[in-house]
Structure formats: C-alpha cells, structure tokens
C-alpha cells in the first residue's frame, strides 16, 4: 500500500489560512490502514484546525467526507455537491488523491494534508516500512524476494558495499543491510550462486527516469 503521514498541523493551518470554509477529504484505502488519512483522522484534523482558528478569534467552517478512495473518479462524485460551498479542499489522501481531486475541480484550491512516503506495509502495530521503489521492472526473483533497489541505501545491484557491518547499513545502525538479508536468505535457500552472478546496469527508463508512466490494459477499456 501507499504509506503516508500527516504534515505538521501548523503547516496545514498555514495552507488554509485564507479559507473560511474547507472540505476535508479522507480516503478509505491505504491511508486509512496506515492511520494517516481515514475517517477518524479527518475528524481529528477538522477539530484541531477549528480550535486553532478559535484561538485566533476567527471561525473555520469545515466538513469532512471520506470516500471509498480518491484515486478513482467515480468515487469522487460524492464531493461534487459539497465542494460548491467551500473555498478550499484539504485532501487527506496520498499524492495521487490530491491530484485526482484537483483534476476534477479546475476552479478549486486543493491542498495536501499528508506527506506521501512510500510503497510499503505494516511490520507491527503502528510501524510501516518501505518495500517497493516502483522501479518498473521487478528483480525480486534474483534477490531472494528482498528488494535492493529500495532497501539498500545505495540501490546496489551487485552485493553489499563496504559499509555493511553486523547486518546493518552504514547510514544507521537501525537500518538492516538489504544485502545481508539477501545473502542470508539465498544461503538458506541454497541459491547463493545468484549473488555471484554479475548484474548489469539497470534500465531506468522503465522507472520515472523515463518520464511519467502509464499502464494501458486494452481488454479493460470500455
């Protein structure tokens, strides 16, 4: 899933400082799971912004709505009426959600309440970790199911650098060395030969380096 976290409240307040009426839009997918932008967080953010305004002696009218997801136009229809009465929409979706709302309402000011972090998952309650770098050409079959593109701090493809020590990365003793994980796993699977083979430079044109990407599935088109 897409993992995000909320921006500091002061930063969001600054973005909406000129607005009198705002619509706060949550999303019931990934950002609900990572507890950044679900229905609950929409309520908390609205209340907090309202209280900040009150302290300043000004009113903030806000309403919250949490569609199924922001990244599909049909689920945004529920916003069509609501946005007519507001100066600003605060999206608590990921960066995709913010942009889908902005695209739908060309005359409307839309701001992000979250920082979209990465493609990852829940490792324990309240902890999410990065797992996928969206490079466009998966190599997990060559690396024992552990991604060096995103989990090695240097995205190395031919094994660990000299900074790997005691299973940890040179940048932070809290960060696992991805290549140590790969080594251990391949050793356990008796497939270490995968680590001895030379991996040539990666084709980054399949990642964002090749420009904005699009996936088209013909049979799914109407």
């Amino acid at each position: 899933m897409i993992v995000a976290e909320q921006k500091p409240l002061a930063e969001i307040a600054e973005m909406v400082k000129d607005a009198e009426r705002v619509l706060i839009v949550g999303c019931s997918e990934c950002v609900t799971v990572c507890q950044a932008g679900g229905e609950k967080q929409v309520g908390i953010l609205g209340t907090a912004l309202g209280m900040m305004r009150k302290k300043e002696g000004r009113e903030l009218q806000w309403e919250g709505v949490t569609p199924v997801r922001q990244c599909e136009p049909e689920y945004l229809e529920v916003l069509d009426k609501k946005v007519k009465d507001v100066d600003c929409v605060v999206s608590m979706g990921c960066g995709v959600g913010v942009q889908f709302i902005a695209e739908r309402y060309p005359g409307l000011w839309v701001v992000p309440a979250l920082n979209t972090k990465f493609g990852g998952g829940t490792v324990e309650a309240g902890v999410w970790e990065e797992r996928c770098g969206f490079c466009g050409e998966c190599i997990l079959h060559k690396t024992g199911g552990i991604c060096p593109i995103i989990r090695c701090s240097k995205s190395l493809l031919n094994g660990p650098c000299g900074g790997s020590q005691d299973g940890k990365c040179e940048i932070d003793s809290e960060v696992d060395c991805a290549w140590q994980l790969i080594y251990d796993r391949l050793k356990g699977l008796d497939r270490l030969e995968l680590m001895y083979a030379y991996t040539p430079p990666k084709d980054w044109s399949r990642a964002r380096d090749g420009g904005p990407r699009k996936v088209v599935k013909e049979e799914a088109r109407i």
């Binding site: 701090s153 240097k154 995205s155 190395l156 493809l157 031919n158 094994g159 660990p160 650098c161 000299g162 900074g163 790997s164 020590q165 005691d166 299973g167 940890k168 990365c169 040179e170 940048i171 932070d172 060395c177 140590q180 080594y183 251990d184 680590m195 001895y196 030379y198 991996t199 040539p200 430079p201 980054w204």
Partner: protein, 309 residues
C-alpha cells in the same frame, strides 16, 4: 601493458608498490595538493585523489589529478557512483584520460547522509562493479555502456576497493572475485588494523587464486591520537583490535606510537603471500607519508622503465 601507468609498471615489475592518499581541499586552491605531492612524490609510486570523500564537497578528483601530474607525480583518480550517472561517469573518464590520467579507483561512495549536504539526491545509477566493467569495456572493447563504439579508448589501470572487514565475511571474497571478473587490475583495501582477520581473508583470496589475477595493496592509516583511533573504531566497516587502542591510549608520544603501529602493520602485510603493495591513507596528516615509507624500508622507490608499452 593495459594502461602504461607507472603504478602498473611497478606492480608488473614485481616491486612492492606504495601509493598514498591526498584529500583535495574544500576550496578552489590547488596549493595543498601541490605541496603534499611535492613532499611525497619521491616516496610513492602514485598519489590517490579522493572523490568528495565522506560526501563532503571538495575540489574534484579529475582536477586534483591534473594538479598532481603538474607537480610531478602520477595520480590515481578516485571515482564514486554517488554523484554522477552513467553519462557523467563515462564523460569524466574520457576527459580524465585525455588529460593524461592513467589510473582510476572505482568506488561505490559513502552515503551522502555522512557529508555536508545530507539533503542531496544521490545517484548510484551504477554500482562499483558495474563501473569497473564500464571502464574495462571502454578501454578494451572501445565501447560505451550503451554498446556504441569510440575512436580513442581511455587507457586506464583499473582499481577497486575491498573491505576484508565488512559483512557478510564469507561473501567478501566472492565480492572481490566479482570485481576481478568485472575487470579490476588492482585492489586497495580498506584500512587494516586487524592483521589477523586480514590474513584470514587473504587465505580465502589465495584459495580462489585471486591473488594471481589482481594486484592487492593493503590499506593502512597512520593515526595521530587515541581519540582519532577510537573514533575510527566506530566507523562501519572498520575493525580495530583493543590492543592497538590500549597502546595508543597509553602512549606518551601518540604521534610516534601511531607511526610505529603503521610501520609494524606494513611489515606484517609484506609477509602475507599475495600482498603486492601498500596504500597509505594519512588523512589530514599527508606530511607523515615519507617518514612511514622510509621506516618501513620501502625507500628508495624502484625506477621503472618510462616506455609506455
């Protein structure tokens, strides 16, 4: 001869090679590089120029290499994968070769979080092994990474680093094998303090016959103080035996003790089969290099035929 560099000729001639490192300054002045080069040039076969080491912005290693040549020594230009993509790397290699640089050390590069621009975007379009292969293909096949051909190839003696103290230990020799396979001609290792562990690594290197396929130079660092050594012992990928730390702590003259330890390590390295030279990394203490070379009995340096073969 692959490159005709002096370093290659010294090693090919069977001499125990000596290189030393000079760190380019955080300024637009060549003074320090020239001063250090002139001071050590008779005592070393080549001078390494670091490439924005520890991710701190410094005068470029390409330019520094030219200053070294003007000052009368041979450079080993270090190049990391952190700051340039494959286009810039190949371009700099062509440029450096056109200026007369004949040795390159291919490195991954320290992560930018260590340096003075931790908010920088890193590149790592290539890793060090892919970089070695790229230089080899440019030199031997006259080919760029994309497969296109060039008219005049860069003649480079290709170096790589090896860290016998990194983990996973069992993989470290395999990684060296990958570097040799990719085209490394010589190796400069991470600084050695734990000679016992290094000897164990060399044993594994010999078991695979790698010592006959690549010139291995052991890295050493003369340490000025107990504090410096203690700090170094915390750097990932460095291992310093407690006994050396104790010696530095107890020393009345820590600088002298640091030199003594360095010279002892060089002497021990020379006894290890397959070690073909030493690389002295006297960080912020370049002026000590001649003393160490002399006390280690490595002076005078051999005269090698100038003819580019």
């Amino acid at each position: 001869m692959k490159s005709g560099s002096k370093l290659e000729r010294v090693l090919a001639g069977g001499h125990f090679a000596v290189t030393a490192e000079v760190g380019p300054p955080k300024s637009a002045s060549s003074k320090g590089i020239v001063k250090h080069t002139e001071h050590m040039k008779d005592h070393v076969d080549a001078v390494n120029l670091t490439d924005n080491q520890t991710a701190i912005v410094r005068l470029s290693s390409v330019a520094a290499a030219v200053h070294v040549m003007r000052a009368g020594a041979e450079p080993v230009m270090q190049m990391t994968c952190r700051d340039r993509n494959r286009i810039a790397i190949q371009s700099d290699i062509l440029g450096a070769a056109s200026l007369g640089v004949r040795n390159i050390l291919c490195l991954t590069g320290d992560h930018q979080s260590f340096g003075n621009h931790p908010t920088a975007k890193n590149v790592f379009d290539l890793d060090s092994i892919q970089l070695i292969r790229a230089v080899k293909d440019m030199r031997d096949e006259k080919k760029f990474i994309c497969g296109e051909e060039m008219r005049v190839a860069p003649r480079m003696f290709i170096g790589a680093a090896a860290n016998p103290f990194g983990d996973p230990f069992e993989y470290r020799v395999m990684r060296l094998a990958k570097k040799v396979e990719a085209g490394a001609d010589f190796i400069q290792t991470q600084a050695i303090f734990d000679v016992e562990r290094f000897a164990k690594w060399m044993e594994a290197v010999r078991d695979m016959g790698l010592h006959e396929r690549v010139y291995i130079m052991g890295g050493v660092i003369p340490v000025k103080s107990y504090g410096a050594m203690r700090y170094m012992s915390t750097v990932p990928g460095m291992r310093i035996p407690k006994q050396l730390l104790d010696r530095m702590k107890a020393a009345e003259d820590p600088k002298e003790e640091g030199v003594k330890i360095c010279v002892e390590i060089i002497e021990q390295l020379r006894q290890i089969e397959g070690v073909k030279g030493v690389h002295i990394m006297a960080v912020y203490w370049e002026e000590i290099v001649p003393t160490i070379v002399e006390r280690a009995g490595l002076y005078p340096r051999p005269e090698v035929d100038d003819a580019v073969g």
